[in-house]
């Protein structure tokens, strides 16, 4: 059973407090509902077996009918609701992003949904804000507040193994608090239908110990070093890509994903393509086939060597 429940995005394979409580709620509700369904079905099937009727006075009939209606129609749902709320409401309460009792600071991560990629910001990082895209690193064992919004249409932020989801709405900022129990990698995917490439809007989430997390942030404080080997590729980038993409120290475009640490990521196109040698060049050539409708124009006007060189340089962008 437990094997069947596991999975990168399984609600039933929780890796955080909120998700665990919901998983328990589910198992409890499933058991209760199964009993209710089986009993009601059995009663109905029994009632269908005609031909064993005894003659009853209409007074008796009324009594029996009222017993069924009050017992099944009022008491059963009434008690079930009370039971459900008694277990459910405290769970919901514990998920709220309330101030912590001891005045402890909660890590704040800002996530913005775009068609069809994720912008992730760490505004409180020591030494200045850190920006990345389509990957989200978080510290283990402490609550994290995710401040989420949408840049264009409505998206939804959801890391199933950590807890519930929240909509990312243009013009509004919603907050959801999640906590990971142990280090690990979690799948996440936009949960609100957001257009042609809703499917390929995935987020790589990684929880790591606080020290590693701080180190990860610190690595990104300084722009990656640029060697002269890739000067031509950098020029191509500045000419064709810089107005949309930011690379720290090179360009400041804001339309598309920040590429400052792209060489360090596990995938391209918000989870569409695994990152490996040559993957970026492949993506640059075929991204409209791999992720039809994505907002990046096609690069057919650039020849293969140029794209290969561009890809090779981008792969070096790693802190």
């Amino acid at each position: 059973m437990l094997v069947g429940c596991s999975g990168d995005r399984s609600i039933l394979d929780p890796a955080g407090q909120a998700a665990r409580e919901v998983a328990w709620l589910w198992w409890g509700m499933l058991a209760f509902s199964t009993v209710v369904l089986v009993v009601i079905t059995a009663l109905w099937l029994y009632a269908f077996r005609g031909g064993r009727r005894v003659a009853r006075s209409s007074r008796d009939e009324q009594r029996i009918a009222r017993r069924w209606i009050i017992g099944g129609g009022l008491l059963l749902p009434g008690l079930s609701i009370v039971l459900l709320l008694a277990f459910g409401v405290p769970v919901g309460q514990r998920m709220l992003p309330l101030p912590l009792p001891d005045g402890q600071q909660v890590e704040r991560i800002e996530v913005t949904g775009h068609q069809w990629w994720w912008e992730v910001r760490y505004p409180d990082a020591e030494g200045g804000e850190v920006v990345t895209s389509n990957q989200l690193m978080m510290p283990v064992g402490e609550p994290v507040d995710f401040h989420v919004t949408g840049a264009d249409v409505i998206h939804a932020f959801w890391i199933p193994r950590l807890g519930g989801k929240i909509d990312m709405i243009p013009g509004r900022t919603n907050v959801i608090r999640l906590e990971a129990d142990a280090s690990g990698v979690f799948g996440a995917q936009c949960a609100e239908f957001c257009g042609a490439q809703h499917t390929n809007m995935q987020l790589h989430v990684e929880a790591m110990p606080r020290d590693d997390f701080n180190a990860w942030l610190a690595e990104r404080q300084a722009p990656p070093e640029q060697s002269d080997d890739h000067q031509a590729a950098r020029d191509t980038f500045v000419e064709h890509c810089a107005s949309c993409h930011r690379v720290a120290g090179v360009s400041d475009g804001q339309q598309g994903p920040d590429l400052s640490d792209i060489g360090d990521r596990v995938s391209l196109g918000a989870g569409r393509l695994a990152m490996e040698e040559g993957a970026i060049a492949h993506w640059l050539r075929h991204h409209q086939q791999l992720k039809p409708g994505n907002r990046m124009p096609s690069h057919d006007h650039l020849d293969a060597e140029t794209l290969d060189a561009l890809g090779a340089w981008l792969e070096t962008l790693s802190p």
Binding site: I64, A65, A191, F193
Partner: protein
């Protein structure tokens, strides 16, 4: 009156039928397009609904094919998005609702002992609007420009910026067009049920099915207008740039969600209630005893109707609304389980105390019960906010929703179709093929959707066009797809069975299931007039009390069996007691509904093609046809010029002051009021919640001019009321002149309003504030124009002699519209002009 009719000697049924047929019979050939008869139109509704059901079903199979394997490339993403959007849209708007309306249109008059619905031309208009709107909407699929933002059309995804193609326009315009049919069916079903029940059928003797349909119809009337308003607003935003939902201009996309679900949740019960009505009709028949707890069921229906309007936010738990609101809507969503459970246990108790026989329709009822209870249980789970946050927008919800809708609507519908087949065709269905069809559908359905709960719990979101093997969803999707195809085979078998039975079914005996309600007293298939004479009803089970009823009805031994006057007549009765109050005479076949809906179809197509001048012309044509239609009423030569009735019978309704038309106007105004309240909700919502809302320091609308317009309207309304009071006293002196004076006051109000709009200089394409103001002013203006035109026509009708002290009915109907306009106008002045003044702008 009736006593004489009831004791009269039997007449030759054949002769009586021929005489009745002369007046009521349907024309053939091209003229069949002018038919207004409810039996014919009910069948047309259902047949058309079946066609859309098949198209929607094929779309579902395309979805299941795409998802059967990981990394499938069967459909491109943009096609997949169109396919699932249209699957939901077709099933909801073009199958479920029209199908049930069709059943109600067909069945209700027969069940309450009437010969037709009370507004037959409206039935026809509704059908044509449904057909044309459905064709326009579906054509987008074949043009490959179908809407692709999901059946819920959330902005900003569906807005001009993110969906620039015509897809969203097809949805907004097509659905609004189709909704005319839902609203017209809603209005006339309410009035028919309340005002045209046969003699003696008091509310508490009414068949339960009629109670369910009454609730459904009222819910349509109140529930659809929010969506119509939202669709108009979004279409205005897309077409002319009025930014109702655009954050930067002060709008808010969440307003769309509120308005959509304000409709969308009641809609679930609009679909479920009639289906439950079928179950409540069948169970007593097959248990061979009256339902236990009739009053409990009625109470459950009413409570469901009310609660269902307080649940809409449970579709929006992840939007980030305040906790307190979430707690309220969570508890309310769970509470709706109570009336549903009451019905389930009423049905159980009825079977328990009866002697049930397991015929084919009951098999579908049993299938309904298991699936629906399961869907209800997952529904209660989903109402729990923390659980909802996890599974919202996953396949768990897809599974839940199909359990509720297929279990709660399709299964009872099949039960009902099998049950009433002998009535439709005069033939019995085959038990054998039907059982195969049931089991395949039942097994296939559960294989598809029971497993889908699990897929959702494993984290599969809705509306993704593919997935990768690593996610571990492969096997479950495969099983769901196989189940889907098994279910399709089952549905195909059922349809085959139904199709074959029309040809090969064995002829049905009268009342084949030993039912208790009046629809089984008609001939099979029923004649256009249903009953040659209208029976008196003294209990809830007329046919169990008197099994000979079919014969005595056909022999004309009951009421209104005289037809030589050539009028289509039925009883107008007291809404509570069922006591006869007047004779309602109905209009005959008419081309105007067809012409009006054709003109509306042209409007719809022109708006799609953005040919606005042409759309304006077509709108004028549609209004012209509708007004021409309204001309043929009352004492018009084509209606009831001669008011002679049988000695002792009550007067014709057009010669009284409280006919069904007045009720229809009131119910239509109820719908209109719901529309207006939704508008006010939008105004206050944007004012208080929208993140970038900007209220100007002073209102751009001139208060003195508004008040002046209001004074003209108030004076007109008071004058019209005075004329109506005169008519009530049989006094029609100065009627025409008075009506023209009222028309002039209406004209003055319109001129002043136009002046207000003119001098306000609203920047309706730049700020949501101005856009909302303009929309409200246009609403008031159009209503003023309608009231003025109708009053002018009344004045003219006095000249023709169609309206007078003898036929005083119509001015009272128009006066009701004026009263509504008056109320709305002053609310608009208060909410849009004075309130912002008091509370201060800028804020």
């Amino acid at each position: 009156m009736s006593e004489t009719a009831q004791t009269s000697t039997p007449r030759d049924p054949q002769r009586l039928h021929e005489d009745m047929h002369e007046v009521w019979g349907n024309p053939r050939g091209l003229k069949a397009l002018s038919i207004v008869n409810h039996t014919t139109l009910g069948l047309r509704f259902m047949a058309t609904g079946m066609v859309f059901f098949l198209i929607g079903g094929i779309l579902a199979m395309l979805v299941r094919t795409q998802l059967a394997f990981p990394d499938q490339e069967f459909m491109a993403p943009e096609i997949y998005n169109q396919v699932f959007t249209m699957h939901g849209t077709l099933m909801m708007f073009l199958f479920a609702i029209p199908m049930l309306e069709g059943l109600a249109i067909y069945m209700i008059p027969k069940m309450i002992g009437a010969r037709d619905l009370v507004c037959p031309r409206l039935t026809s208009l509704g059908y044509w609007c449904y057909l044309f709107g459905g064709i326009i909407l579906t054509s987008s699929l074949f043009l490959e420009v179908a809407p692709d933002s999901g059946w819920f059309m959330y902005t900003p995804l569906s807005s001009g910026e993110f969906s620039p193609g015509p897809g969203s326009d097809f949805w907004l315009l097509g659905i609004t067009f189709v909704e005319i049919s839902a609203l017209s069916a809603g209005v006339e079903l309410v009035v028919s049920i309340l005002r045209t029940r046969t003699r003696g059928m008091s509310l508490d003797k009414m068949p339960l099915f009629a109670w369910y349909i009454l609730a459904m119809a009222l819910m349509i009337v109140v529930g659809f207008p929010p969506l119509i308003l939202a669709s108009i607003m979004l279409e205005l935003e897309r077409a002319v740039g009025m930014p109702f939902f655009e954050v930067a201009a002060g709008g808010d996309p969440i307003l769309w969600q509120h308005l959509f679900w304000l409709f969308g949740h009641p809609e679930v019960y609009i679909i479920f209630l009639p289906a439950a009505g079928i179950v409540s009709t069948l169970i007593p028949v097959f248990a061979g005893r009256p339902i236990v707890g009739y009053r409990w069921v009625v109470l459950a229906i009413i409570v469901t109707g009310f609660i269902s309007f307080g649940l809409w936010v449970h579709h929006m738990f992840t939007v980030g609304i305040p906790q307190l609101a979430q707690a309220f809507f969570s508890a309310a969503s769970m509470l709706v389980a109570v009336p549903t459970a009451i019905q389930v246990f009423v049905w159980l108790a009825t079977l328990w105390l009866g002697r049930p026989v397991m015929k084919l329709p009951m098999l579908w009822v049993l299938g309904f019960l298991i699936i629906f209870v399961c869907g209800g249980l997952t529904g209660v789970m989903l109402a729990l906010v923390p659980f909802n946050w996890q599974v919202h927008d996953t396949h768990f919800v897809v599974a839940h929703m199909h359990y509720v809708l297929v279990g709660g609507m399709l299964f009872p519908l099949m039960a009902g179709l099998y049950y009433w087949l002998p009535l439709f065709s005069g033939r019995m269905p085959s038990e054998r093929l039907g059982r195969w069809g049931f089991w395949l559908t039942f097994i296939g359905f559960n294989a598809t959707f029971l497993i889908m709960h699990w897929t959702g719990l494993l984290g599969m979101p809705r509306r993704i066009y593919t997935y990768e093997t690593v996610m571990g969803w492969d096997i479950f999707n495969m099983l769901s797809s196989i189940g889907g195809f098994v279910m399709s085979a089952g549905i195909a078998m059922v349809l085959l069975d139904i199709a074959l039975h029309f040809r090969f079914g064995r002829p049905a005996p009268q009342n084949p299931w030993n039912a208790d309600t009046l629809e089984w007293t008609t001939s099979m298939p029923p004649s256009a007039y249903n009953f040659a004479s209208l029976p008196r009803v003294d209990s809830r089970h007329p046919l169990w009390d008197d099994p000979e009823l079919p014969r005595s009805i056909a022999e004309g031994r009951h009421d209104l069996a005289v037809i030589d006057h050539g009028r289509r007549e039925l009883w107008g009765s007291d809404p509570l007691t069922g006591k006869v109050r007047e004779i309602v005479h109905l209009p005959g076949n008419s081309w105007w509904p067809l012409f009006a809906s054709l003109a509306l179809a042209v409007v719809c197509v022109c708006l799609l093609a953005r040919l606005y001048p042409l759309a304006g012309l077509a709108t004028l044509a549609a209004v012209g046809f509708l007004l021409r239609w309204s001309w043929e009423n009352g004492a018009h030569p084509r209606a009831a010029p001669d008011a002679q009735v049988q000695p002792g019978d009550p007067p014709l309704h057009s010669r009284t002051m409280d006919g069904p038309g007045l009720w229809a106007m009131s119910i239509a105004l109820l719908a209109n009021g719901s529309f207006f309240l939704s508008y006010l909700f939008g105004w206050f919502y944007l004012w208080t919640v929208s993140p970038e809302w900007r209220m100007p320091d002073t209102s751009p609308l001139s208060l003195p001019l508004m008040v002046l317009a209001g004074v003209a309207l108030t004076a007109g309304t008071l004058w019209l009321e005075k004329l109506v009071r005169g008519l009530r006293r049989q006094d029609d002196r100065g009627l025409a002149l008075g009506l023209f004076a009222v028309t002039a006051l209406g004209g003055a109000q319109l001129a002043l309003l136009i002046w207000v709009i003119w001098q306000a200089g609203l920047a309706a394409t730049e700020t949501a504030h101005d856009a909302v103001l303009l929309l409200g002013l246009i609403y008031v203006l159009l209503h003023g124009a309608l009231g003025t035109i109708l009053t002018l026509l009344q004045g003219l009708r006095v000249g023709y002699g169609y309206v007078s002290a003898e036929a005083p009915f119509e001015p009272a109907v128009v006066a009701r519209l004026w009263r509504y306009n008056l109320m709305v106008f002053w609310i608009v002045v208060f909410a849009l002009v004075t309130m912002p003044m008091w509370l201060g702008g800028g804020a």
